[in-house]
Symmetry: C2
Subunit: 290 residues, 2 copies
């Protein structure tokens, strides 16, 4: 199967499972369940849950071993987007090609929809009842906590409009973006019951992929297409955001992004035919235009 | 031991454990860890974690069996207070006798501190590694989700300034307040390894206690002392909040609150000497003045 068909197929399976897990919009209180579904569907690239599945499959596991965790990861990613878009945070009106949650449902419901998606991620993984549950849960929430996702967002917010070091920018990108991407690949390996070395390889693959992903995102904010991105571009500069092109220039940023994705591809390709999809995802990231 | 000494002793133990679990304020990124601790300490009555311990002890368990869960409950309670106090929600400037988190740290950090406390609650319960972990986790997050705490807050927000039925007001109070109080008592029983009947009794005790607690809170907003409460009072009416005194009048509300606390006391006293503390807590709630 080529990459495009693979991504499409997995995206479909993830959306179906997410729809099964999340409460119906006809369930009381309606407004919150509608807001949760509004932000989850139709969704973006679903890169994180797809990675979890691809990594699990690369290491001999099956989609059913990891799909619940994959959905929990997407819920965490979506909750973080809802909260990040709030006026008090990044103040973004558009997300995934439509009005942000707080524009559609108001700020109060948006805050609560984020809280609810985070809570549902916990309910989802607890019900999954996997033999590696503890390791998976620790990996997921360490990477979502102040030692990961939240830590990155804190430093991103506090650094706005300030000149920061390349070390701090790396901290932001590693934690705000790469942490959850990396833990997706790691959780895939854990769900497959992989050995320590393979789990560590998937973590490293994910970190490199995540850095390539975020630096490319920074680059696309400068030279991307708004329609394709489904969100407002060219706002990093005006928002005083620290970015790779801002700190290192466009050319060097492209060079660094390619270095990270090459490193990810190298790790994946060491798994030969089994790592084919992961290798192709790494190559795709360095070429993506939205 | 009399109730006052018991509460003091348990509060001290809970605060010590919370301080051990939560990241130091000297841990990077400092601001988020400071904000989390700012909202957690010195804290309020700690009624929820104390209930979890008291219920565990009443059913033959030890404090060490439940203390991690008790702390997780307090983290969830505190995250909900931080988010509820935000300008987009209840817009409260004061909490637990000092400026609300968003007044002290700004809105963005307050939103993230709430997210972080919810995330830490899960990290805390996973590390606890209790044989009844799954039941405890399901109880905790069902009661914190849109089927509990969040559901109650959603309807509270959506009902502001509207005339609602007594059924909707009961839904709000049951979910926004009684759900987490009830699950505290239930988790105490689960941690003690209690049988189904005792777990169910503790759940019912908690629901009754929680309703008595919230109706008393409504009453105190009308006739309480701001200094003792540590927060602004007499704002339910001006905020268009639906309350028991608003819907049923003061006298009938006092009567209903007493009925709920009597019912809680009745369940607790069926455990004889072992249920003494739980009985006293129920009696205390109906007499509380702050």
């Amino acid at each position: 199967m080529n990459l495009k068909s693979y991504l499409q197929k997995k995206r479909k399976g993830i959306n179906r499972k997410l729809s099964d897990i999340l409460p119906r919009p006809t369930k009381y209180p309606y407004e919150i369940h509608r807001a949760m579904r509004y932000s989850i569907f139709p969704g973006g690239k679903r890169i994180r849950p797809i990675l979890a599945i691809a990594s699990c499959e690369a290491l001999g596991g099956k989609e059913k071993d990891v799909i619940a965790y994959a959905c929990a990861i997407e819920m965490i990613h979506t909750y973080s987007l809802i909260h990040d878009d709030l006026p008090a945070m990044d103040n973004d009106d558009t997300r995934r090609g439509k009005p942000a949650c707080h524009k559609a449902f108001g700020e109060a419901i948006a805050i609560l929809a984020g809280d609810a998606l985070l809570t549902y991620s916990l309910q989802t993984i607890i019900s999954a009842n996997h033999k590696n549950f503890e390791k998976i849960a620790i990996c997921l929430y360490n990477n979502s906590s102040t030692t990961g996702l939240i830590g990155g967002q804190v430093m991103d917010i506090l650094s706005e409009g300030k000149k920061i070091s390349s070390k701090t920018l790396n901290y932001i990108h590693k934690n705000k973006t790469a942490a959850l991407i990396s833990c997706s690949a790691e959780i895939g390996a854990l769900s497959a019951g992989a050995n320590l070395k393979d789990v560590e390889n998937m973590r490293k693959y994910g970190i490199n992929l995540g850095m390539a992903f975020q630096i490319t995102d920074d680059i696309l904010d400068v030279k991307g297409d708004e329609k394709k991105a489904g969100k407002k571009l060219r706002k990093d500069l005006s928002a005083g955001k620290n970015t790779y092109p801002g700190l290192h220039g466009l050319e060097k940023s492209i060079h660094i992004a390619k270095k990270y994705s090459r490193e990810a591809a190298k790790i994946a390709s060491s798994y030969g035919r089994k790592g084919k999809i992961l290798t192709e995802i790494a190559n795709f990231i360095s070429k993506r235009t939205s």
